[in-house]
């Protein structure tokens, strides 16, 4: 088994998440970076325990499955934050339409 480089691992996770989220990425990056770093450190810890013969294969699989599930939960939060950002943008645009129409007709129609 080769050594895992934490910074490479976190950078690759961030890059994959960033590609998926595109323009909604900047505001979520700090949260993602912090969580992926913790997950990366944990994966390295597990691999070190395996290499030292202190963790069985059966347990390792379960631990890695749990870290994978936690990563999915982080990604789902990022997706939700992205949706909330899109929602806010659409609602801001709708408000402009409403304000413009109300102002043009002189009373609050919308």
């Amino acid at each position: 088994m080769t050594d895992i480089d934490l910074s490479d691992l976190v950078a690759n996770m961030l890059s994959a998440a960033g590609d998926s989220l595109k323009d909604k990425w900047p505001e979520s990056k700090d949260y993602a970076e912090s969580e992926f770093k913790k997950i990366g450190e944990t994966i390295i810890f597990i691999s070190q325990e395996v290499l030292a013969g202190r963790m069985s294969e059966e347990k390792t699989k379960l631990h890695l499955e749990m870290q994978k599930n936690s990563s999915k939960m982080v990604l789902l939060t990022l997706e939700g934050l992205g949706l909330l950002a899109v929602e806010a943008a659409i609602n801001a645009a709708l408000k402009v339409v409403s304000d413009t129409v109300n102002s043009a007709i002189g009373f609050a129609l919308l």
């Binding site: 810890f45 379960l62 631990h63 749990m66 982080v74």
Partner: protein, 157 residues
Amino acid sequence: MKVKSNPFYAAHRLAFCAIISVLIFSAGCTSIKLIADYDEVIDSSVTEFQKNMETHLIKLERNIGTDDASHENNIDFYDEARVELSSIRVRAAAILKNELTLTQIELLIQNLENLEKIHELGIAANDIPPLRNAFNTGTTAILKLELAKKRGIEVEE
């Protein structure tokens, strides 16, 4: 009068009416929601679950190697935790546009099942750090999304 009969102005007026109609139609729903509203019960239940899980992990850590840390002596915790998460899952499923949170709860349930399998194999000191990280990361993710659903209110880190 002459202007009104001009086909150029007539087309202009028609286009203007069409644009206004589209604007009124789209603004008819003055705001949209792409994701569920904040739910206080999910917030407090997931926070409570995290607290119970941390208590469980601290007790296991303290009692490793003794009967108190055996799986048999902790079955009640797993039964109660399952009921707790099942109840949160039902709540999350009942809320419209809440698929992301629902999936997160299902992943948390899978992690609880994996924890119990690890416990059945015999818990060791080196199991605790990855277990703690998995549950803290997962519950933080659920709570971060839930709090963001408050919309417009700053979420404390």
